[in-house]
Structure formats: structure tokens, C-alpha cells
Amino acid sequence: MTKIGVYVCECGNNIAGKIEIDEVLATVASLKNITVAEKYKLLCAGDGQEYLKDSIKEHELTHVVVAACSPKQHELTFMNVCQEAGLNPYLFQLVNIREQCAWTTPDTEEATLKAIRQIRAAINRVKYQQALEEREMECNPNVLVIGGGIAGIKASQVLASLHRKVYLIEKANSLGGNINKFASLYTTMEPGFSLIENEVRKVKQNKNIEVFTSSEVSEILGFLGNFEVKITTKAKEGELNFNVGAVVLATGFNLIELKDYPQYKYGSVDNIYSSLDFEVMNLPGGPTGGKIQLKNGQVPKSVAIIHCVGREERGYCSKVCCMYSFKFDRMIRAQLPESKIAHFYSDICIPGKTAQTFYEDTKKLGVDFIYSTKHEITGNGRGLLVNYQNGTGSNTPWPADMVILLPVMESSCDTKKFADMLNIPLDEKGFFAEEHQLLSPIASAVEGIYVIGCARGPQSIAESIVQAEASAGKILSSLVLDKKLKLEAKTCSISDVFCTGCQTCLDVCPYGAINYNEVKRICVVNEALCHGCGNCAAACPSGAAKLKHFTSRQLYQEVTGILRQ
């Protein structure tokens, strides 16, 4: 039998002073299934909660409506009271007659009528509410880290512990990624490989990290807490399966293909280098033994450094190029104290507390900074010319023996593969998109999958490391050892009888929580992933998808309660 209790909070004078509560109670008490309709001076206070709890028990209520303040303030309070009184908290409905009525409707008579309608709507609705259970799920604490650059290495180190194994997968035959190629790092000017050597040693010494080089991930199925991973590994000649609770994507960056930007003559004229080529030239083990030299073996007397190559076309700033170009100045000066060096730039982008000092020290090295745009390299038999515009009209081309281009960083070629495999969206620049750009920058839109380092946009080494640590922060605080994962109670479900298999819901689900069952030809919600946003329920043309606690019937009854005279 349905036994509904309605409780109106006076909220001191806040509600009692603006709404005729006795009139409200008299009207409400006459409605069907109302067992008790009472007021109390302050329901959220300790004694108010006790009163409510006792009343629910005493009348053996099946449903409860509380008319008080905003759900933001005390919905949780009253849900807990219901729970303590032995009533499922989803059989409770809060009506906001303070902010939405008492405080906004000045006329007492109108406010009273409005409150009656609001409460009637809640009574109508609560009858159709169902008890929901907050479920829990076992989860696997282990983590898969994809990409063995500095971000992946650091994430593995921070995550791995005695009870949490990390699988670190790298497609190349050694760890370290791009930093291996960096002759030096700003601002310490230490060689890149010494950083990597040190960090790789720590990885190898850690028994809780299993490293797979020359290996690729071929399949990932599942969801937060329970992913099944399949990798193919050349080293061990075959396929390997294991389970993890979370996945960290650290797939890094590529430089843009410079041949697509013919104005720079890269690849067609000698002595034009990309920043990475120049790094490699400076490696002691590189093709010139670390010497900065021209194709013909001579040393350059003038070096032009061109900033922002591809920035205008790609539409974003790669953040780190200005800083590493100042590192190049130091490298050039160390070998060629007499050479001319000129930067062709439009903006010097050196955010943060330490970068400007590094820049100012660079200027002391006798380096020219030429503010300019529309750079074009031309070559003649004897050397190169940097053509540019600087707004004054007097732009004499700058003769250079060597040109270093600072190209835009783009996401690595594997990005698309993993986006498809894991059903995570890319942003308009082709990097992995964040769950929320500002407040959840490390999480992808799919729970349990995190994106760090240059896979989510150009980053410095320090930023990549922070993001690696951040992914650990997210994982260690959600996949807690010996603790089950709490799942959302208000999830969606799709009726297998009504589903026509049109898959409209797949496109609108932001959490990748819906799969299409090819055999049954229907869509199925994975309740472990569903956040209960209701997009599928709104989009479903056949009414098969519904959101628990917000069913069409509940909403219809609620609206009717408001509108009926």
C-alpha cells in the first residue's frame, strides 16, 4: 500500500513568513495516499532530522516528500535520513519552495498556490519512483601505460607499487621517446639521454613495472576497473593478454611534415634543418659527431632560426619552441663563438616564472631578434636567404648559411588508432580531448582512460611529468586497493523489446557506455560506465532507452502536478 508522508519546513521565517503553510498542508492532506502531512520549524537541524526519521518509521511510510530549500543544500541530508529510517532514499523527493517560491514570489496568496502545485507535482512523481541500489564493483588495480617517452616512464614509476603492477608498452625498441634525440635540455643544458638513462634505470629496477618494447597494443576491451588488454610483442614473439583497471595514453608527438610547407624549402635545398634534425646533429653519436656543420663540412657563419613554422596554418602555438630555440643559441655559441645568429619571430612565448631569465641571458649572447612574418627561404648557389615582412617595407633578405625551422608539434600517428580503439574523442587539432579542458585535463571522456604529455597537446618536459603524476593522482584516488568502485545508481537502461537497433544513442553518449550487440541487433548500456546523463533517453526514437529516476512517466506526472488547476 502506498503511504506518502509530506513534510514542510518552515525554515524559520524564510518559508513560514511568505507561504501559508497550514493552507498548503490542508490541501495536500486531502490528496490520495497521503498518510501524514506536517510542518516543522527547521527540518535540517539535528532535532528536525530526528523528527523526520521517527515519523517515517512510525507511519511506515513508503514514499516521502520534503518541501524545503534547494536540493543543492539538503537533498543529501534528507536522503541520508530516509536511509537511516529504513526507506530507500530514491523513494524521496525534495521540493524547493524556498529559493523557487518563498524568495521569488512576493505575494503570499500566489506563493501559497505555487507551493501547493510544486508539492503536488512531487507527490505525483514520487509514487512512480523506484527503489534504486547504489552498486559496487570489484576493480583491478593494475595499469596499462602506452608510450615509453618521459610521460609514460614517469607515470609508470609513480603508479607502480607492491600491490599495483604497471605494464609499460613502447612500440620502438627502447624507452625514452623523443628526448633521446635532444642534445640538451632547457634550462639545465644537460644532455637528454642522461635524463632518460637515469629514469630508464629506475624503471628497470622496479619489479612492479613490466616493460614491453617493440610491442603494440592490438585490443582493449572493457571499462574502468576491468579492461582486457591484448598486445603483440616482437620481443617475445607473439600475443599476450592481461587485465588492468586503468589505461594511461602517453603516445607523444610528431613534428609536422615540413614538405607540406614548400616556402621553407625543407628537403629540397641543403642546410635547412628541422629542430629535431638540429638536435640530432648536436648529438655526440650523431652523423657529424656533434659538430654543427654545413653539408659541405664547413661551419656556418650565419644561422637563421625561424619560429612558428606552420603555426598560422595549424592554428595553434606549440608552447615550447621559443624556449628550446634559446637552447640552440647556447649550443651554437658554444661551438661557433663568431657566427651570426638571428631569430625570425612574431611572438616570444615564454610563460612562467623562470623562462624570461633564460631569454634575457640568450640576448646577451649576441643574438638578433627580428620581428617578422611571412617567412620564405630562397636559395642561390652560395647560400640561403631568409625573406620576410616586418611592416616597415624595408625588409632586406637576411643571408644565412644554415636555417633551423621550429615546426609545430602535432599528435603522434598512433593517436587516431587509439581514439578509435577506445572510443575517445579527439579535439579539432587532432589531439586527445580532455573530459573537461579546465577541471579535468588528464581524464579522457571515457572513465578509466587518461591522457598525458604531448598526446593531449604540446607540452614541455616539466608539464609532461606533472601530467604523468596527475594521472597517478587520478588513478590512485579512484582505484583504491581493497576498495570497491561505487557506481552511479541513476543509470540508463535500454529495453531489448523496444530497441530497434538504430544506434542513435551510440552517437550521443559522451561516456562510451553503450554498445551495439551485433547478434541481438540491439543497443546495450554498460551500467559501470553510464553516468546517467540521459542523452540516450532523450534521443531514442522508439522510447527504448530510459533514465532511471527520470522516466517519462515520472516526468509526465510531475508536469501534470504543476499544471493542473
Binding site: C11, G12, N13, N14, C44, A45, C69, Q73, V158, L159, S161, L162, H163, Y186, T187, L195, G315, Y316, C317, D347, I348, C349, I350, P351, G352, K353, T354, A355, Q356, T357, Y371, D427, E428, E434, Q437, L438, L439, S440, P441, I442, P458, S460, I461, A462, E463, I465, V466, Q467, E469, A470, S471, A472, G473, K474, I475, L476, S477, S478, L481, K483
Partner: protein, 430 residues
């Protein structure tokens, strides 16, 4: 083993967006968190912004769910109006002394109805609103501030300055106002500390050539943020001191950069945001940005710049030499990079100043024995490699306490500090 059990509780200092994120993650992992905040509210500087770049999201709406979650989380104890005054011990066993100012409000009884403000006879400049509007001696800083519990400013309250007034107490129906409350000294034991004390804006009145506080209609960026805020002093209207909307606005970047010696990372985007926002409200108002280098790093920001530029906002690459007053106009005298001198008449100037560490950072640095770099931000242990570890084991830094940065990087650092903290104890428990 005989070794004493390490304390798992964590002290987080500063309740801005970094402190909130760190506290929530730690609490969700099962840790007890003490969040010490010197003001009466949480949310820090972010809640002063009506909207945040680059997606022009409503900042308070964005943060509110996090604030609510924090206030309702049983593992988090918020100590507002509080200051850390002493820390002894070492990683795993810090003894922390916190001084909490009395709020004179019993927060168990207060329902946040604000009935106590109206009868208060005191009116003083509201610091949260950069002094652009008045507040009472019992107050919350702005509508929507959380926790929604007022406090009494004893420096201005009549009762606490020797007069007989109890207007607020008489107006409160819940007996929530208690004049007998005392400041408290609270001792807490924690194993780790995360410092998330954020930033303050550099005060441009130190640079006299900009005329800030000398000429009316020369505003700081934070003042304009509050003018743009729907819960601010003008309910979101951008107005000159005479109450009329401005016709031409100069926005000046990098104010104080030369003096401070670093780029504050976010001012270009903040300037673009202000321009974007004013253009939306006042489409016919001319806006000119004076800048030397645009710093819009990363994948997401340039598009915003292009949109603003496409929307009729002008950019002049020049150094601003001086701002002068000529009748009702302000003249911006500037020098372009070809050493050409020029000037522009506007009726409003917005100065976008550097971000600097809060004034009390040095004091906190001493209490925590934490080194500060040359610009006063807390120093990381290994610059260019890790932003959040410090020289002191067990103490981490995150967000603008470490250096100027945007919300994205701030949140990432807060998560990173939690990552390192939880990782270290996972590695110790064998």
C-alpha cells in the same frame, strides 16, 4: 617493525581551485583532509570571474559542484578564516598549529538566509569587489559564495569597536549569531602538506606612468572582471565612473612585467577574454589591445585569439609609455617597435598586471621552511623536471603558489601532488 605508523591525514593550505581538487581526490581515496583557508569562502580567485577562457564557461557554475562536493565530504574538514601559524616535525608526522578567527556565527544553526546583513548599520568597501561596492560588517563577500555562512568583521563592527549594537543578532531567527565566540588555536597532526596558496594581482599603482588610482576610468583587470560579473557591483555592466558605458577601451598587457621579470602566462588570454566579453555586451565599443608579445601557448588558445580579432578588436604592438588625462579623455602614449611615437584617445583603460605570490607567502615559507625563488613563488625541487616536489620531504606545492599558470595546469598540478603523495605511501607500505 618498530617504526611508528605514519600519519595518513593531509593538510591542504589554500582553498582555491588547486586546493579543492587536491582535497577531493585525497578524500575520495580515503584520506582525512584538513583544508585551511584564510578567507571566509572557498574557490579562490576563480570565483571572481564571470566567465573563464577559452570556452567562456560560467566560472561559478563550473566550480559550484566541486565546492558542494567538498563541503559535503565527511573526510574533509574545512577550516575557514584560518591561518597556519606553526609546523613542526617531519614527513609522516607533522604537528600543525592553525589559528582560526572567530566568525561569530554558529554554522550549525545558520541557514544562510542573509537576514542579518540588512539591519547592520556599517558600510565599508568590499575587498572581494576590489572596493567597487560596499558591504556590511556582517557579510558574505558576494552572492553565491560558499560556504554560505557570513562572518563578522570585527575591525568595522560597531559592537566590537566599543558601541552597543546587536542589530544582526536581533534579526537572526535561528540564534546563529554568537558574540562570545573566541579565536581558536587548533592543533592537527598530519603526514603530508600540500601548499596551494594561489596568487594575487600586482598592484599597478606602483607604476605611476599608468595613472592607476590617479585618473578615474583606469581600471585593473580584476576590477573589470568584477564589473563583468553578474553578481558583482554593477550586475555585469561595464560602466565608466560617470555611469555611462565606455566608447573606446585600451587594454594594456604585461603591466609590471619588466619590474617583476617574468611573463605571467595567463594575462594575454585574460585580456582577450575581457575584450571578447565587452564586445558581446557593448558591440559598438572600440577595443584596442596594447601588447608586445602574445603568449597564447598550447593547442586551445590561438583559436580564441583569432575569434576575438575577427570580432573587431584591434591589436597594437607597442610599449605604452604613459597614460595622461586630457579633459574627459585618457591619452595612451605609446612607442611602436620601429621607435615611432604615437598616441590614442580612449575613455577607459584596463591594465592587466602581473600575477605575484600572495603577500603572506614569505611568512608561510618560514613556517614551512620552504624555499622561495627569486620572484617569491615557492620553489620546486628540480626546476624544468618536476613542478610539485619541494626540498622538504612530505610537502608539495601546486598551482600558482609555484608560479603563474592557467586553470588547466593548476588542476593538473593539484592532481600530480596527490599522485606523488599517494604513490610514496603506497611504496612505503610493504
Amino acid at each position: 617493525m618498530a617504526k611508528a605508523e605514519k600519519n595518513t591525514a593531509v593538510l591542504v593550505i589554500g582553498g582555491g581551485v588547486a586546493g579543492i581538487e587536491a582535497s577531493l581526490l585525497l578524500a575520495n581515496s580515503g584520506r582525512k583532509v584538513y583544508l585551511v583557508e584564510k578567507t571566509s569562502y572557498i574557490g579562490g580567485n576563480v570565483i571572481k570571474f564571470e566567465e573563464v577562457f577559452p570556452n567562456m564557461e560560467c566560472a561559478t557554475c563550473m566550480i559550484a559542484p566541486k565546492q558542494q562536493e567538498l563541503l559535503q565530504n565527511p573526510n574533509i574538514e574545512l577550516l575557514r578564516l584560518s591561518k597556519v601559524i606553526a609546523v613542526t616535525g617531519e614527513a609522516g608526522a607533522f604537528a600543525v598549529t592553525v589559528e582560526q578567527q572567530a566568525s561569530y556565527i554558529n554554522s550549525d544553526n545558520c541557514i544562510g538566509c542573509n537576514a542579518c546583513f540588512e539591519p547592520c548599520p556599517v558600510e565599508v568597501g568590499n575587498e572581494f569587489e576590489e572596493g567597487l561596492s560596499q558591504r556590511k560588517a556582517i557579510y558574505i563577500p558576494c552572492a553565491g559564495a560558499l560556504p554560505n555562512v557570513p562572518h563578522i568583521d570585527t575591525a568595522n563592527c560597531l559592537r566590537f569597536t566599543g558601541q552597543d549594537c546587536q542589530a544582526c543578532q536581533e534579526a537572526c531567527l535561528f540564534e546563529a549569531i554568537d558574540y562570545t565566540q573566541q579565536d581558536e588555536v587548533i592543533n592537527i597532526d598530519v603526514g603530508n602538506i600540500i601548499v596551494t596558496t594561489g596568487f594575487e594581482s600586482y598592484d599597478p599603482s606602483g607604476l605611476s606612468h599608468y595613472g592607476y588610482r590617479h585618473f578615474s576610468n583606469v581600471y585593473s583587470a580584476m576590477e573589470v572582471e568584477r564589473l563583468l560579473a553578474s553578481n558583482g557591483p554593477t550586475q555585469g555592466e561595464v560602466l565608466l565612473k560617470n555611469g555611462k558605458p565606455p566608447k573606446t577601451i585600451a587594454i594594456i598587457h604585461c603591466v609590471g612585467r619588466d619590474k617583476k621579470g617574468y611573463c605571467s602566462s595567463i594575462c594575454c588570454m585574460a585580456s582577450l577574454k575581457i575584450a571578447h566579453f565587452i564586445k558581446k555586451k557593448l558591440p559598438d565599443t572600440g577595443i584596442i589591445q596594447f601588447y608586445t608579445d602574445l603568449c597564447i601557448p598550447g593547442k586551445a588558445y590561438q583559436k580564441f585569439y583569432e575569434d576575438v580579432k575577427g570580432n573587431g578588436v584591434d591589436f597594437i604592438r607597442a610599449e605604452v609609455a604613459e597614460i595622461q588625462k586630457e579633459g574627459k579623455w585618457l591619452t595612451v602614449n605609446y612607442i611602436t617597435d620601429h621607435n615611432r611615437k604615437d598616441s590614442l584617445k580612449v575613455d577607459m583603460v584596463v591594465l592587466n598586471p602581473a600575477l605575484e605570490p600572495p603577500q603572506d607567502s614569505a611568512e608561510l615559507a618560514t613556517i614551512l621552511s620552504l624555499p622561495q625563488g627569486q620572484h617569491g613563488f615557492f620553489s620546486e625541487k628540480t626546476p624544468d623536471l618536476s613542478a610539485i616536489n619541494t626540498e622538504r620531504e612530505g610537502i608539495f606545492i601546486a598551482g600558482c603558489a609555484q608560479g603563474p599558470k592557467d586553470i588547466t595546469d593548476t588542476v593538473a598540478e593539484a592532481e600530480a601532488a596527490v599522485g606523488q603523495l599517494l604513490s610514496l605511501s603506497a611504496k612505503e607500505s610493504k
